[in-house]
Point group: C2
Chain length 269, copies 2
Amino acid sequence: MTTAHVFDQAIALTPQGGNLFAGHTSAAYGNMVGPFGGITAAQAMNAVLQHPQRLGEPVSLTVNFAAALAPGPFEVEARPARTNRSTQHWVIDVRQDGQSVLTGTAFTALRRDTWSLDEEAMPQCPSPEQVASGVGSIPMEWVKQYEMRPIAGAMPAVWDGSGDSSLTQLWVRDQPPRSLDFASLTALSDVFFPRLFVRRATLVPVGTVTLTIYFHADTAQLQATGSGHLLAQARAQAFRNGYFDHTAQLWNQAGVLLVTTHQLVYYKN
Amino acid sequence: MTTAHVFDQAIALTPQGGNLFAGHTSAAYGNMVGPFGGITAAQAMNAVLQHPQRLGEPVSLTVNFAAALAPGPFEVEARPARTNRSTQHWVIDVRQDGQSVLTGTAFTALRRDTWSLDEEAMPQCPSPEQVASGVGSIPMEWVKQYEMRPIAGAMPAVWDGSGDSSLTQLWVRDQPPRSLDFASLTALSDVFFPRLFVRRATLVPVGTVTLTIYFHADTAQLQATGSGHLLAQARAQAFRNGYFDHTAQLWNQAGVLLVTTHQLVYYKN
């Protein structure tokens, strides 16, 4: 008997009948306060993926982090709000003690081959083998579950207010390597350190409030990616009165744009 | 007695008690099939804005278009799913005949002055006075409700498959001019013609499936903008197997980034 990958253990859900699923927070994906948002998003997405009435593959997901999850059990409700001929709209609610800790919506669809084009080309970067692995001494548990090879815009080594760009580029994959699927791609879409830290080299309390992911890749493209490295790129557009955004992309090593993703993050200052 | 602006007529809602509001589609904002998505998004947002329990100002909104609205009445439910000390998470459902036609979530918050910075600078563009108004002979009613001055990436004049970039830049505001608020900024965030038309100069059926808006501006910045022109910019990142995205920004004429917004659009081909 083999032991399941730490990620599969973390996102495991037990069907409770109807639209309800039971899950449990994972200490392996702990963050400063509560779990890594990416793992909570993946748990929410997994309820849609596991739902017996699901039609098609994930195309978009939005999750809103309403409160930090307490260590322990949680309940996910994934409700198909509208099912059309080839598309389906989902409403998601993650609860602890009857209170919403995450709200969200997802969209799944049967996809067909069409004219396609990536307008946002993968930037020129050194290969994963040319970039050292490691992000320094970062105490959060979840960071250990990813192999990260920062190319540009790594976590500042000194907090001296010296940044001049929020652009980050890194190679990243699960650690140990795991074949990519929609759940792990969901978590990987939240793998970026806060743009404020990079732009400003200043450490302040932060927390993502909403995250949206557009899945350009289908199952075949995820399978072709396998357990290879992803090039992840993120950049802020505005920091304003307590909230900043970022816009991000993830490509596989072959240059296929798998995901475009955006988030809005609270910051205190 | 003055007549209300066409936009205010379109987004008017009648409270039905609790979290429910009654509205009616607006012929003035008709699109090819059903209404302009921006007006439906604004109607959904308006339920949050009108809700007596609302805390703070809109910071983010995601709406998913589950079905084209039929001309006639609709019901909006805007439910405060979680209220924290200075933030609030909303779940939105727009229904016709008891069926969801739009699902969504919103986030409102009390904002405070903090260190702020716009990383995405307004591009160099001619002023509104230097750009001709008009977008050609476009039959959709909603287009008449906006003053549009295209700078780059206008609707193709001929459909010859000749495009090489999806970038669009235009000056835009309500027509007749109307002081900017969160409802009108919501609608303006969806004002872009489909990126596929621009990139490919090919006319195919399209429809937005999900739209996310991050409001960087607060009420004071909207008031300072008044009824001035906004510079709107959009660009696709990927067109893939039936869905393309776009990432967009809206600045006021003073160069303040008011909104960053993203959407995913279905296309047939």
